[in-house]
Assembly symmetry: C2
Homo-oligomer: 526 residues x 2
């Protein structure tokens, strides 16, 4: 497929009139062809108007065609073949195997949401039938369903150029809810974005949907991105990226005449707790697993463990020595972009310069550009709890081993953490009584708690929560991964005393879409 | 019961150290005893610390005791007897029958939430069992549940001194979710607040719960109210009141180091659409119903109809004449407070002064203080759509009849409305084809659509939505009435690879609380 270098606005390639930008190969710092044209605010308006126009028809699609649309996107992405993986690798420095896995996750979650659309529980139908002879007043027939919010703006993540970008989790769940989507392409992988954007555009056309259902736009985050969030047609925002970027969008959304929800996934250091019992086993293997989790994908995962609590004393010293051994053998992998590598270096240097923080081990710089040496630091618990610098996320392969004296100190230390996506505990049965009081403290701080595992590797299913209290996300009541993510884009509407002819399909007595419904609060399953 | 005039902080009467305030009888403008002492920020901290301390035990209460707590509050409110109704009537000017009905609604919704707690679906349990032999990677056991957000601040409404105040819908749903509650008493009904606050405090004590589960505080909204929302212990806010008050709390909540959700129900003019067919019947009766809905409770209901679209022409003229007849016969009822009566007058005067707006009919001033004459105005549709003053809520008995030429104009006019709690349509079968395209336009603007009924009278059930897009509420994805209201105070947490001994009760294989669960996305009902 020849890359054209233009935004895709409501089904049409739209050469932008506000300058150009290029992708960069982070392994070489070389500019990649073609140039990408950047759109103006006038061109943005075409996309948002089209999305608003598309809403009525798209939001009322019958379930089978709606599900087929999601499946068609998955098929079209697969049809791109190796070109997609190769372009994504060139633009991001991520390896081919990792990207193949990520593509499978992307198409898998599109198909999972197709199942969700067919199954229909997300429509949230509740029926309280009329009680005409109730005293003192009769009860009217009231029926409730969830409807889509309206057009959604999606800001793709740098670190998942497929699974959290143009056709990623935010787009899939917004489409499944029935919302048109406008994706602001991430500037670090414009070609990958175009390939996937064309796969979606083709699905829109092949299914005969309104072309405004999808647009992909190129422009700067600070201008076009902010204008997109401020546009009255947009009713919700999905974002994965930095804390500064996410909070800037939150401010814009809150300042609108009609404020809208922003679902921003931003910042997490994903604490790991090693309990004493876990050090009675193969300590070197545990240390190796930790280093693997820290350095995988060059440490650029939202759930990379940036912090591990390890007991003071001999067993903890053996774990620390194992970490030193493991990290020393590694060389740096190319990071996603020069900017991200610079930010990593800045965070690394701040941690290195902090009082009473020492280097526990360091790898070597990689052969390519933007591949700094991974590093693990160490400090005592009292140093950690009193210095906010040690609580900041360093996006990339750096982590901090914090030594604690007694397990009873962990609850208090947890209370001082900011909100997190995950917490992981390594324990044996001997530790359970010490672990139990930590669980409620963790529930208040994180979206997912893992026992005897590592936080990286986020399963896409019905029970997953990829979310957590601020600043992990902007809305702790939501998840951006898994089927519950659809709820972010829905709102309830009640229909009182409607005749059958005027009822929306899921609320009709005939129940043509055969959705499960709650009748007087009781399940009435089909 | 002798009123003491103090805040109730974690089970104890707490004389405030920041001055005093009195209730006022709005029918006479007389000051009511006793003086209410106002708390300081230091005293507030005692309440928020206690709420935070209470969270762990209250959020994990076994369902039966949890449900009994809600029922005990209902019983204790009933046990107050006539004193509660009389004090509420003296403080608010609302009639005894209205307040008796409101008390029944208050105790009814507490008992409804007790049922919700016993039933357990709000726990949102989802289980994706482990698949150890999955290729290329095994799947871990992942279990999800909804947990309460933490301590909740509730700001009671002036217009529902029982059903949306101290033990009203926000408090009942937050308690049902497992959140401790701190109520900021409404200054217009301090005695009513104390009586109900003591009913809750007694229930906390009798059930042996942590006293921090509930506090009732007296203070100014601008100081103590804002400090409450800014307090780090508070994790969500429920508010019913003015747009200015709600948006002030939204700003405070968004500016916190950890932003929190504000569920503010603020402003709605509740448009009514009279279709041509509906004027073929008893037009005078329809006009009378409208005036009754406008003037009930002195027009001080969140869902009072402030706007009705009526066809131009003879039939519409007959409706207008019926409105004039009906309203002319009415005299004003005492409003909730002098401040609210002043605000009504201000809104009334602005509408009266607007260009091309005429008085359609006016009642007479009532015999008591703060009982202005109810009024209905009229204007043509083009005047309405171009003057924002005509879109503003006038809280109290005033309404606007807007005359339209063709039903096709209603969709466009609807697009120009702000978000609303309700829309009501009066139609016959002949109108259905004209009504159909209006429904999607209304879905985008309102939380509840009513056919052939009036918006006042909000049923408390499973299917009710009392919410809507901004500025009707601050979060269109929620309702403040009905069982779905509990979702405002919950967030999901996932538990990965937990041993049975460490799992929270609803996630245990043994399922001791017998909750319904979704296993691999499929219902697994008990």
């Amino acid at each position: 497929m020849t890359l054209q270098g233009h935004s895709l606005i409501a089904g049409e390639a739209a050469p932008g009139t506000s300058g150009t930008a290029y992708g960069i190969n982070p392994a070489t710092n070389e500019q990649l062809e073609p140039a990408y044209t950047l759109i103006s605010e006038q061109q943005l308006k075409i996309a948002t108007d089209a999305a608003a126009d598309a809403f009525d028809s798209f939001s009322t699609l019958e379930p089978e065609r709606h599900a087929r649309f999601l499946e068609a996107i998955a098929e079209n992405i697969e049809d791109i073949g190796d070109e997609l993986i190769e372009r994504a690798s060139t633009e991001t420095g991520l390896g081919l195997a990792r990207l193949q896995g990520e593509r499978a996750r992307t198409t898998g979650q599109l198909r999972l949401f197709a199942d969700v659309v067919r199954q229909g529980d997300f429509r949230g139908v509740r029926i309280d039938p009329a009680i005409p002879d109730r005293a003192p007043l009769p009860r009217a027939d009231i029926r409730q369903r969830q409807i889509p919010l309206g057009p959604v703006a999606v800001f793709g993540a740098s670190n998942f150029p497929l699974a959290f970008s143009v056709a990623g989790g935010d787009t899939a769940s917004a489409f499944a809810a029935g919302c048109p989507v406008i994706v602001k392409a991430h500037n670090a992988h414009p070609g990958t974005a175009e390939l996937v954007g064309r796969a979606i555009t083709k699905a829109v056309r092949d299914l005969g949907l309104h072309p405004g259902v999808f647009s992909l736009i190129y422009g700067s985050g600070a201008s076009i991105g902010q204008a997109l969030v401020a546009d009255p047609a947009i009713k919700a925002v999905g974002f994965t990226g930095s804390r500064a970027g996410g909070t800037a969008l939150m401010r814009t959304a809150a300042a609108r005449p009609e404020p809208i929800p922003v679902y921003a996934e931003m910042s997490s250091i994903n604490p790991v707790y090693i309990f004493p019992g876990a050090l009675n086993g193969d300590v070197e293997a545990l240390a190796q697993q930790y280093v693997t989790s820290v350095t995988g994908s060059s440490g650029q995962l939202c759930t990379s463990p940036g912090l591990v609590f390890v007991p003071a004393g001999d067993a903890g010293n053996r774990f620390a020595a194992g970490v030193t051994d493991a990290i020393t053998q590694l060389s740096g992998q190319t990071m996603l972009s020069g900017g991200i590598a610079s930010a990593w270096q800045h965070g690394h240097d701040a941690l290195e310069a902090a009082s009473d923080v020492e280097v526990l081990g360091r790898g070597t710089k990689g052969p390519d550009e933007n591949s700094p040496a991974p590093a693990v630091f160490t400090a005592n618990l009292d140093v950690f709890t009193t210095n906010p610098v040690l609580h900041e996320e360093i996006f990339g392969a750096a982590s901090l081993v914090v030594r604690y004296k007694g397990v009873e100190d962990l609850v208090e230390a947890t209370g001082k953490l900011e909100g997190q996506l995950t917490a992981s505990l390594h324990v044996t049965e001997d530790d359970y009584s010490a672990v139990a009081p930590l669980i409620p403290a963790l529930e208040r701080k994180v979206g997912r708690i893992i026992i005897n595992g590592w936080p990286t590797g986020v399963e896409v299913g019905h029970a997953m929560v990829h979310g957590g209290p601020f600043p992990a996300t902007s809305d702790s009541k939501t998840t951006s991964v898994g089927t519950l993510a659809i709820n972010r884009f829905l709102r309830p509407v009640a229909y009182q005393n409607f005749p059958e002819q005027l009822r929306p399909a899921p609320l009709q007595d005939a129940n043509p879409w055969q959705v499960n419904r709650l009748v007087d609060g009781q399940p009435d399953h089909n």
